[in-house]
């Protein structure tokens, strides 16, 4: 019979009461773990958003925000100026081109229609210097309802009074010359087949095609197509994740400038700042260096900022809830142990009368508390495995109503990582059959974090148990004679 064995025995002395305490503890611990998992899921999402766009600034020509607006184009010299601004780590120039199918364009020209089409789909401003060129490619987006709607919109603007049959209309294809392997928002391109273009700062007859655009035109890596009668070879395919984004192609920046016959001219500059904290100051410095009459500096995808801040508040709430639930668990332990010490006052007196040191008695009570906490943790983790899924999805869906920019539709990648139940727990069982939703959420919280959460529960439990354990030290051995 050791101290531990006695503690386990004592924990089961009153089974009904122990059961009730374990149940209440399980709720508190389950809530704490759920909140920690949710907190980590949200934190991971915030980090992901910050990493993707948080440090990117976009420079457009002044007054170029509106479709077909005026203003002087950006130049290579301005790119050099931007690169010299403190905390700017990279400057990538882009040159946007608009491509129309050659046959379609000829037909429309014959019908005397306008040259302009609906703006680029990917969300970036079209830019005033967008040059329209012809291509052998056919747009991947058919003249469906969208085409008709845009068509109708254009009619009401009255740029021309002629009504055209919808079938002749398809969206233009956006071709962008890029100075690095990034898309028009500064995000690295996801190349799904083939390879990149290598050196993006020299002319090349290679191009990257969006997956749907390539499919529509029956092109593969190595196939060729033409822009303004110049032949390009498909070096690779990319997936931008959106229909509009995939109805696009990328060539190197000098190639695009040559196609447009505008060497040195840029549509936009994508400026990356070295860290999140420097974004505001770098933005101000960049605007000053380029001049407000020459360029507009915007933070890439502003709506992401609101996404991040709303996620941040969710993160804070879940952290507070975690701490509160943890504190509640500690308080439950404290009150139960104080009650037990009072109840076993005389028995503690007996132990002291036969020579038990204070630390042995204190340890026995702390261990007894930990036995109860361990049981509460096992049940609580089972509760968390059920609750954290719905809590996380509730957080995610409420978040997706506040912003359209957050990548809410996608689950957090991570496959079948499962809940790391072994850490600090006598049993890992309840985690195995976690729902798919939980798997994706817990996968985003590292095993270290879960272990830390359980360690925090035990830490709080020890603190909660220490107070009554110290109370036992103050019980005098003469208590053994009480009531005799």
């Amino acid at each position: 019979m050791s101290v531990l064995a006695r503690s386990v025995g004592n924990a089961f002395r009153n089974k009904v009461r122990t059961g009730a305490v374990v149940a209440v503890l399980a709720v508190a611990i389950g809530l704490a773990l759920s909140m920690l998992v949710a907190n980590q899921a949200v934190a991971a999402k915030v980090a992901e958003l910050n990493a993707s766009v948080g440090t990117v600034l976009t420079v457009n020509p002044a007054g170029g925000q509106g479709f077909e607006g005026g203003g002087e184009p950006l130049t290579a010299e301005q790119a050099a100026t931007a690169a010299a601004v403190p905390n700017v780590s990279t400057v990538v120039g882009t040159k946007a081109l608009r491509l129309r199918n050659a046959a379609e364009a000829a037909a429309q020209a014959g019908a005397g229609t306008q040259a302009g089409g609906p703006g680029g789909g990917q969300g970036g401003p079209g830019g005033q210097t967008t040059t329209t060129l012809t291509t052998s490619l056919t747009a991947a987006i058919d003249a469906g309802t969208l085409g008709n709607r845009n068509q109708a919109g254009q009619e009401t603007t009255g740029s021309n009074g002629t009504t055209q049959p919808a079938r002749t209309m398809s969206l233009p294809i956006t071709a962008t010359g890029i100075g690095a392997e990034v898309d028009s928002t500064g995000k690295a391109l996801t190349i799904t087949e083939g390879s990149g273009l290598g050196d993006y700062t020299s002319e090349s007859a290679n191009a990257l095609l969006g997956t749907t655009l390539a499919e529509k035109n029956g092109l593969k890596v190595g196939s060729t197509f033409t822009i303004n009668d110049k032949t390009f070879t498909v070096a690779g395919l990319f997936d931008a994740g959106t229909t509009f984004g995939n109805n696009a192609l990328y060539v190197t920046l000098p190639s695009a400038q040559t196609l447009a016959s505008l060497p040195g001219e840029l549509s936009t500059m994508i400026v990356t700042v070295d860290s999140m904290e420097n974004v505001d100051s770098a933005k101000t410095a960049l605007q000053a260096a380029l001049g407000t009459d020459k360029a507009d500096v915007t933070q890439g995808q502003r709506n992401l900022e609101t996404a991040v801040s709303s996620l941040d508040s969710v993160k804070n709430i879940s952290l507070i809830a975690f701490i509160a639930a943890l504190g509640t668990a500690g308080l439950i332990i404290l009150l139960i142990m104080v009650m037990l010490v009072r109840e076993r006052r005389r028995e503690i007196g007996v132990l002291k009368a036969i020579g038990a040191p204070n630390r042995t008695i204190g340890l026995q009570f702390v261990l007894e508390a930990l036995v109860v906490v361990a049981m509460g943790s096992v049940v609580g983790a089972a509760v968390a495995s059920l609750a954290s899924g719905s809590i996380a999805s509730a957080l995610i869906s409420s978040n997706s109503t506040t912003t359209t920019a957050a990548p809410t539709g996608r689950g957090v990648p991570g496959g079948a990582a499962g809940f790391p139940g072994g850490a600090g727990l006598p049993q890992g069982g309840p985690f195995g059959g976690a729902s798919q939703l939980l798997t994706t959420v817990t996968a985003s919280a590292s095993p270290g974090v879960i272990a830390a959460g359980i360690a925090a529960v035990f830490g709080v439990a020890i603190i909660g148990a220490l107070v009554p354990a110290l109370l036992t030290a103050r019980i005098r051995p003469i208590e053994v004679l009480r009531g005799e």
Binding site: N10, R13, G355, R476, P477, I478, V480, L481
Partner: protein, 234 residues
Amino acid sequence: MIEVKNLVRTFKSGDRTIKPVNDVSFELEQGTLASIVGKSGSGKSTLLSLLGALDKPTSGDVVVNGVSLASMPDGKLTEYRRRDIGFVFQQFNLIPNLSAVDNVMLPMEFAGVRKAARLARAKELLEQVQLDPEKHVRRINRLSGGEQQRVAIARALANEPKLILADEPTGNLDEQTGEHIIELLSSLSRDHNTTILVVTHDRQLANKTDRRFRLQQGGLTEEPARSRVAAASG
């Protein structure tokens, strides 16, 4: 050898001060079986608790083999209770959810005795106090009063104490069982050279001890040994 020197213990109850132990002095040689008789509330338990360092005197001292309890810090007093004293209580005071053997092993566990050694000694002690072997692993609350008191005596003997303090050990037992317990204690004091001080208000039992004390209004007086032995035998 135990020397009790001018021991005083006072309690304040309201504005009244009571002195259950008032200037008590006596000496006991090692191996003596002694008894204290006195009316209920006369301070017998209070005196015993002072000798066993369960409580601290208001003034005076207890000197055990030349070492003064008054000068000992709490940690040393705990060690004194563990090593030098064995307690036997009227209400047994065993740990109810442990077995007989586990209860006897407890003081040895606190003294750092290895598990195998303490198990062997616990069984040996339970045999000495004549507890049926099949009852060794029985939970305390499934044993009779007499059996519980045997376990309590075995526990008191666990660390081979110099002094056993028994506070009305037969008070909750029938006459015959009580007699057995007293016989057990008296044989232990002979065989192990253990000093035993028994509090009792059973005169018959007191008559079987080497020395008899009476506690009255806080004062201790010794009754002459010879006349009682003569009375008992005659």
